[in-house]
């Protein structure tokens, strides 16, 4: 045996160590790979969960923002069953879109859809109520709605036999958008004179909120007079309540929402719009008002005062001899429709609940 032969392994042992090392390396590699795969899978699940939570937060945020912003005049262009969609908005790497679905005259479903490119889509929605002038008039039980304990004293006239009539200064074209619905709501052209209501509110909007929304605030005694400068209606003047007698003038199309947090006396003059009074309202001398009136106290029409439209007088109504209250559905709708941009609050119909649906 040579020395060289002593250092050489037997032919059966040749490469055994290498094989063992390779096998061990493969085993460790497989184990490591398995661990990496498992970790990657867990990471992917966690990422999807985080993405879902992020999209839900984006959808909810967009939903709440849309509800807070409320509706607007565009709502009149959406029929029940129809929808109005907002534009796609990018939120970081994600996108969100909101839409309003009109379910009935005043019930809307606000939906926010958030999605990520190649990822899941999350929808959040909520049922809300938004005032509709036409619906409010359709649901008015009478020309004057009073509270359960309201008193009634009528020496003058309350007329409810011609609520659809177009009388000067009302122009027929103003009523055209609502003619069909009003005719369906008042097929005989008449409405009861008096009826009871449970609260002095416009649907779900109570007087406190109506007052806080009213852009024009008045108090005490005053005389509304149309006021224009050049060809512009001076809407800054709180006793400028529009110009119903001259529809062609700058103030002819101005139907303000007027609020008074205490008793109010209108001593002569003329005006139009929505008048909300937390207290008694007195129209005297030859004061004329066209539109809708909401009063928590007593509505008094004295001397030759005249009110044309509809009224909620929770404390009761007094109509002096010579004074008149003419029921007019068109004036009431006209006055309420003009406030679409102000009374646009979206009020949840399921309080403090979110109608979530995820897909």
């Amino acid at each position: 045996m040579t020395r060289r032969a002593l250092h050489q392994p037997a032919s059966g042992e040749r490469g055994a160590v290498l094989v063992v090392v390779v096998l061990l390396a493969v085993a460790f590699l497989a184990l490591g790979h398995g661990l990496v795969l498992s970790s990657r899978s867990a990471l992917r699940t966690a990422r999807l969960s985080a993405l879902h939570a992020r999209l839900l937060a984006i959808a909810d945020g967009a939903l709440l923002g849309t509800i807070q912003e409320g509706g607007g005049p565009w709502m009149d262009g959406v029929s029940p069953g129809g929808r109005a969609g907002g534009a796609r908005r990018a939120v970081g790497p994600d996108s969100v879109r909101t839409a309003w679905r009109r379910l009935s005259a005043e019930a809307w479903m606000v939906e926010a859809t958030a999605w990520s490119e190649g990822g899941p889509t999350v929808v959040s929605n909520r049922l809300v109520w938004v005032l509709d002038g036409l619906e409010r008039v359709r649901l008015m039980p009478a020309i004057v709605a009073i509270g359960p304990t309201g008193s009634v004293a009528v020496a003058g006239a309350i007329r409810g036999d011609a609520v659809l009539d177009i009388r000067v200064p009302l122009e027929g074209s103003i009523c055209a958008p609502w003619n069909t619905e009003l005719l369906a709501a008042f097929p005989t052209g008449s409405a009861p004179l008096l009826s009871a209501v449970e609260s002095p509110s416009l649907g779900k909007i109570d007087v406190a909120h109506l007052l806080s929304d009213a852009p024009v605030q008045v108090s005490g005694t005053g005389t509304p007079v149309p006021d224009e400068t050049g060809s512009v209606c001076t809407t800054e003047r709180s006793w400028n309540w529009g110009d119903p007698d001259r529809g062609y003038r700058p103030c002819g199309a101005y139907l303000p929402m007027i609020g008074s947090e205490s008793d109010l006396v209108v001593d002569g003059g003329v005006g139009q719009g929505l008048l909300v009074v937390d207290g008694d309202l007195e129209l005297r001398s030859d004061a004329r008002f066209y539109g809708m009136v909401v009063v928590t106290g007593t509505l008094r029409l004295l001397e030759l005062a005249r009110l044309e439209g509809l009224a909620i007088a929770f404390g009761g109504v007094e109509v002096d001899a010579g004074a008149r209250l003419d029921g007019s559905a068109c004036w009431a709708v006209h006055a309420l429709a003009a406030q679409r941009g102000i009374l646009r609050h979206a009020l949840p119909l399921h309080p403090a609940r979110r109608l979530g649906s995820f897909r």
Binding site: A42, S49, A107
Partner: protein, 231 residues
């Protein structure tokens, strides 16, 4: 010096070194495995908490508890889907709706809550539900048109229907479980909590939940708001 003796020493040394390397490798693998199992259990605990909050807050967003929550269970009408009405005019007892939800309505266990335009609610049992070929202007591509048969169809115009089933959620067997009727409690999460230290309770007009991870699971107890208690 004998070369043969040197070879034995070399072999023993190589063997020892090899064993040491293998042991080191196995120990490392065991440590990694242990760390990963701890991470997994922690992940499961966090995932379970997320599922608990998501599921329960979603349920409470739609309904209130039928009874005040007991320490380990809360019974409620579980939300399963919503539907928009396709038309206010319908045949007696038959309603066509555009539906979307977690699953299709099941007449054997579902009831329907209708909401009218003023927010008032009416209830009816679902007698039958099937796919309808009626047209529905209110539907979008994600909604399914269904025809429903009801025992008490709404007598006033309604705008929305929500489908519920009666069920109860439990914090038992170390997990959140759902039980419908008299069936078993199905786990919705992995078993990661200690029953004796996990509960629902009413506190200052709120429903609050506390869950405590079991000993084998890393992490601290968590307590948080789920819902307001409605009168």
């Amino acid at each position: 010096m004998s070369r043969a003796g040197g070879t034995v020493i070399e072999a023993i040394f190589a063997l020892t070194l090899g064993l040491f390397v293998v042991m080191l490798g196995l120990q490392t693998a065991a440590q990694v495995n242990h760390a990963q199992r701890r991470l997994d259990s922690r992940k499961e605990a966090i995932e379970s908490l997320r599922v608990l909050r998501h599921v329960m807050r979603r349920e409470f967003a739609h309904t209130r508890a039928i009874a005040p929550p007991a320490s380990d269970s809360v019974a409620l009408r579980a939300f399963r889907g919503l539907a928009l009405l396709c038309s206010q005019t319908f045949e007696p007892g038959r309603l066509v709706v555009a539906y979307r939800g977690d699953r299709l309505p099941d007449p054997s266990k579902d009831s329907v809550e209708f909401t009218d335009a003023d927010g008032g609610v009416l209830y009816s049992d679902l007698i039958g539900s099937g796919v309808s070929s009626d047209s529905c202007g209110a539907a979008d591509s994600t909604e399914m048109i269904l025809a429903w048969h009801l025992d008490r169809p709404p007598v006033v115009p309604v705008v929305l229907a929500r489908v519920f089933e009666r069920g109860s959620y439990h914090l038992t067997g170390s997990a959140l479980r759902y039980r419908r009727g008299v069936s078993g409690r199905q786990p919705l999460t992995p078993e990661v909590w200690t029953d004796s230290q996990s509960s629902w309770r009413t506190e200052d007009g709120r429903i609050v939940v506390t869950v405590t991870p079991s000993d084998s699971v890393a992490g601290a107890a968590w307590s948080g708001f789920l819902s307001w208690v409605y009168p």
